[in-house]
Symmetry: C2
Subunit: 306 residues, 2 copies
C-alpha cells in the first residue's frame, strides 16, 4: 500500500524583494515529493524533458521516490515558470510560463502503483488529475487534490467532475471564494463540501489554515516568521506534509487530519526559509519535531485560568 | 483596587451590506465598559453631551459602571460617528465625524479612581490618554492602550510619549506596520516593543490576534463566523474582554495574558452578531463559557499522533 503523488516537475526562476534565483528545480510534484518522503515513500507521477538534470532524479530516488511513473521525454523541454513576488510576498506576477512537456501530458499509472492507498493530486489540469483517478483499479483510502483559480476560469466543468471523486480539497481563501461564489469563508466551505470533498482545507498563507468537515472547524496558525525568503512551493509543501503524515499513520480521522494540518504547516514554514526546495533537502527528524512543538506552544492557552 | 476605562461614549449610525442602524449608542469606552463588566466592575472616564440618553447612563450604572468620571456637558452634543462598511466587512468609509464634546475633552480623574490597578486607555487622542496617566498618583499594575492610524498621522510625537508609559499596546496589523515602518509583522512587533510597551497585541480581524512579549509569541484564532453582521466595536470589545479578564484575575503573567486574548476574542465574536452594543447587553455566564470552550476546540490538536 502506497502514497502516489501526481504533480509537475519543473524549472523555476524566482525573483523576490530579497534576491533572484537561477533556473532552479521546482514544480508542485517536486515539492510534494521532497516533503512527503520525510514521512513515507512516494510513488511519483509526472513528466520531464531531456533537460531535467539526472542527478536531481537520482536525488529523488535516493529519498525513496519511485520514478517509474515519471515520463522522460528526451527530445522535449521541461515545464518552466518564472515569477516575481511583490513586496508583501503574498502576491506575485508570472513573468514566463513555458508548458513544454506539460502541454500534452498524459499521465500513465504503472501497474506497480495500483496498490495506491493515498493519492495526492498536485495542481494540474483537472482532466489530467481525473485521468489518474480513472486509471486506478481500486478506490484509494483517501484522495486529496490541490487546484488553483486558473482552472476555475478555464476548466470549471472538468474541475467539478474531479471534485466529485475526491475526499479532501486543498485551496487558498481567494480560491474558496471564487469556487463557491461566496465571500464568507464559512459559507464558502459549506457550499464546496456539497460539490464532492468531505474535507476542505483552506490555506491563508501567513494567517494559517482552516480545516472543515461537516460542522467541525479546526484553525491552524502559521508560524510567525521574521522573514519569508521565498514562498514558492509553500502550498505544495504544506500538501506534502499533510498527505505524508496521513499516509504514514494510515489514520484518516478528523482528529488525525488536524495533526496532519499542523505537520503540513510546520513543513511549509521550513520551505519559505530558502529559495526553492533547498531547505527541504536537509531537515533532521529532530528539527521537524522541534518545529511541530513550536506550533504546540504557539496556540497553547490555559482555559482553567478563565 | 479597580479597573479604570477611558474612552469615547458616542452616537453611531452604521450601514453594512446587511442593513442600516438608526443613531445608536457607540464609542470605544461604551463597548469596553459593556464588555468588561462581565468580569469586573468598571470606573469610567468619558464625556457626553446633554443629548446622551439618561436611561443608557442608568443601564451602565446598573451594570457596575461607575460614572463619576463621566462628564456630562448639558448644553453640548455627544460625539457622533457614521460609517459604511464595504462588502468584505473589513474596510469602511467614514461618512460623518462630529467631535462635539470630544473636541476639547479634558479628562478629570476623580479621587475615588486613585485606587486604579488596571487602566484601559481606549482609542482617543494620545494627549488625552497621557493626561489620565499623569493624573494617577500611583502607577497602575498594568496600563493597556488602544490607538489607530489616524493618531500616527496627526499626533505621532504625543503617541510616542504615551507609548513610553504603557505596558500593553493593542493595535491591528496595518497599524503595527505603519507604527514600525516594517512590513514583516514579527519585525514590526520587535520594533514596537522597543518604543515602550513590553506586550504587544496585534488584532487581525477574521484572522485572529497575536500576542508578543520578549521572544514569545501566542497566536489566537478568530471564531470562523458564517456572517459578520456589524464589526463596529469588535476591537473595543476585544480590549474590554482582555482587560476585564486580567483585572478579574489580577494575574499579569504571559500565560494569563494568552487566556485574556482568548476571552477578548470570544467577547468580540459575540459583538459582531448584532448591530452596535446589542449583543453585549444580554450574555449569560454560560454563553460566555461555552464560547470560550469553542476556542479550545478550534485550535486543539493531538501532537502525540505525529
Amino acid at each position: 500500500m502506497s502514497l502516489v503523488v501526481v504533480g509537475s516537475m519543473a524549472f523555476d526562476a524566482i525573483e523576490t524583494p530579497f534576491g533572484k534565483s537561477d533556473k532552479i528545480i521546482g514544480g508542485a510534484g517536486t515539492y510534494i515529493a521532497f516533503c512527503s518522503t520525510y514521512f513515507t515513500p512516494v510513488k511519483q507521477i509526472s513528466v520531464v524533458g531531456g533537460d531535467f538534470p539526472e542527478d536531481e532524479l537520482d536525488e529523488l530516488s535516493k529519498r525513496n521516490v519511485c520514478l517509474e511513473g515519471v515520463q522522460i521525454k528526451k527530445d522535449e523541454k521541461t515545464f518552466f515558470w518564472s515569477g516575481r513576488y511583490h513586496m508583501d510576498m503574498n502576491s506575485r506576477d508570472t513573468l514566463v510560463t513555458e508548458l513544454n512537456v506539460l502541454g500534452d501530458f498524459k499521465p500513465i499509472v504503472p501497474e506497480s502503483y495500483q496498490d495506491c492507498e493515498f493519492l495526492m493530486l498536485g495542481n494540474l489540469a483537472p482532466a489530467v488529475q481525473l485521468s489518474v483517478i480513472e486509471q486506478l483499479k481500486n478506490k484509494p483510502k483517501l484522495i486529496a487534490l490541490d487546484t488553483m483559480n486558473f482552472w476555475m476560469e478555464v476548466a470549471m466543468d472538468d474541475l467539478k467532475k474531479v471534485l466529485e471523486k475526491i475526499d479532501v480539497l486543498i485551496i487558498n481563501d481567494s480560491e474558496a471564494r471564487q469556487l463557491s461564489g461566496d465571500y464568507s469563508i464559512v459559507r464558502a466551505a459549506k457550499k464546496i463540501m456539497t460539490m464532492g470533498p468531505k474535507y476542505l482545507v483552506i490555506k491563508k498563507g501567513e494567517h494559517g489554515a482552516l480545516l472543515f468537515h461537516e460542522n467541525n472547524v479546526f484553525v491552524a496558525p502559521a508560524l510567525p516568521l521574521e522573514d519569508v525568503f521565498d514562498p514558492t512551493g509553500a502550498g505544495d509543501t504544506f500538501a506534502g506534509g499533510f498527505i505524508g503524515h496521513l499516509a504514514k499513520t494510515k489514520d484518516i480521522s478528523f482528529e488525525n487530519m488536524k495533526t496532519a494540518i499542523i505537520v503540513g504547516s510546520a513543513m511549509a514554514s521550513f520551505c519559505v526559509e530558502k529559495f526553492g526546495t533547498e531547505r527541504l533537502r536537509n531537515l533532521s527528524k529532530d528539527a521537524i519535531a522541534e518545529r511541530i512543538n513550536e506550533f504546540v506552544q504557539l496556540v497553547h492557552f490555559d482555559v482553567s485560568l478563565v
